[in-house]
């Protein structure tokens, strides 16, 4: 009888752990958060770009300073520990915008500071940025080559 009781307790504990390990957030809520936060960050970007356009830049020219400002904001928020908390809630809503690109570079660089400035900070800076930059460049090269061969203009 006692063994059965222990068995039952074990099962209850197992069920408890399964429940605890199961991702708690439903898909709909994840999507809503991603939409809201991703939209909000894009909106901030639009305001920053508008500011630079007000200084007389074309939307095209304003792209670079806008990217720099957003990357700066993302890096700062990462340094203060805010961005990682945002990513936990908003998922891709925080990771997909360029501020998330900054976060993906800054966060591991900070974390591996203890492994040194060269192999820690210098190398970990590109943990996520490396794949993104590498495959982005490869894809853009192929697309550019295809357009050159086919004679398609911008």
């Amino acid at each position: 009888m006692q063994a059965q009781g222990a068995d039952e307790a074990l099962r209850a504990r197992y069920r408890y752990w399964v429940e605890a390990m199961r991702p708690k957030k439903p898909l709909a809520r994840n999507l809503a958060w991603a939409f809201g936060v991703g939209g909000a960050i894009s909106e901030v970007g639009q305001w920053v770009q508008w500011f630079f356009q007000r200084q007389g830049m074309s939307p095209d020219q304003a792209g670079t300073p806008t990217a720099i400002v957003l990357v700066g904001l993302g890096a700062l928020a990462t340094g203060l520990g805010w961005y990682d908390r945002l990513t936990k809630v908003a998922g891709m809503g925080a990771s997909l915008p360029i501020t998330g690109f900054a976060n993906a570079m800054v966060a591991p660089a900070m974390e591996f500071r203890s492994e040194g400035l060269v192999l820690g900070v210098g190398a970990k800076l590109f943990t996520v940025a490396g794949p993104v930059l590498g495959w982005g460049m490869a894809a853009a090269f192929v697309v550019g080559l295809a357009r050159l061969v086919l004679g398609v203009r911008i």
């Binding site: 991703g38 894009s42 639009q46 990217a67 460049m137």
Partner: protein, 116 residues
């Protein structure tokens, strides 16, 4: 109107990425790479350019905008200097964001301490 579309399009792109992440076995890094490549392909067809015109930062701030910027930069460089532009273009167009991320990343790693 751009201000409305910026929110909607930026939000939708992120929601789409979240949907892919939640319904597949891909890691976040895989999803990010996929979106950059998708942005480059959409940039090559001219679709992304049309999206940027309507949604502004809603299309250029999310990662596909990065792929689009690379393709656009390559296109401009190719027009300017021919086939060599395939190698030189792209990075100068996207260079501001990349270099900012590298510099700010180094600075943040020196200034801030990670909190557990």
């Amino acid at each position: 109107m751009t201000f409305v579309w910026a929110f909607v399009v930026g939000g939708l792109l992120c929601a789409l990425a979240q949907l892919l992440l939640d319904t597949s076995n891909l890691t976040p890094a895989h999803v990010l790479v996929l979106f950059v490549v998708a942005g480059a392909l959409a940039g090559g067809t001219g679709w992304y350019h049309a999206l940027v015109k309507v949604a502004g930062a809603g299309a250029s701030v999310p990662l596909p905008g990065f792929g689009y910027t690379l393709v656009k930069g390559i296109g401009e460089a190719v027009q300017e200097k021919g086939a060599w532009g395939l190698f030189t273009g792209g990075l100068e167009a996207a260079g501001g964001g990349i270099k900012a991320a590298v510099l700010f990343g180094l600075a943040a790693a020196l200034v801030f301490r990670p909190r557990a």
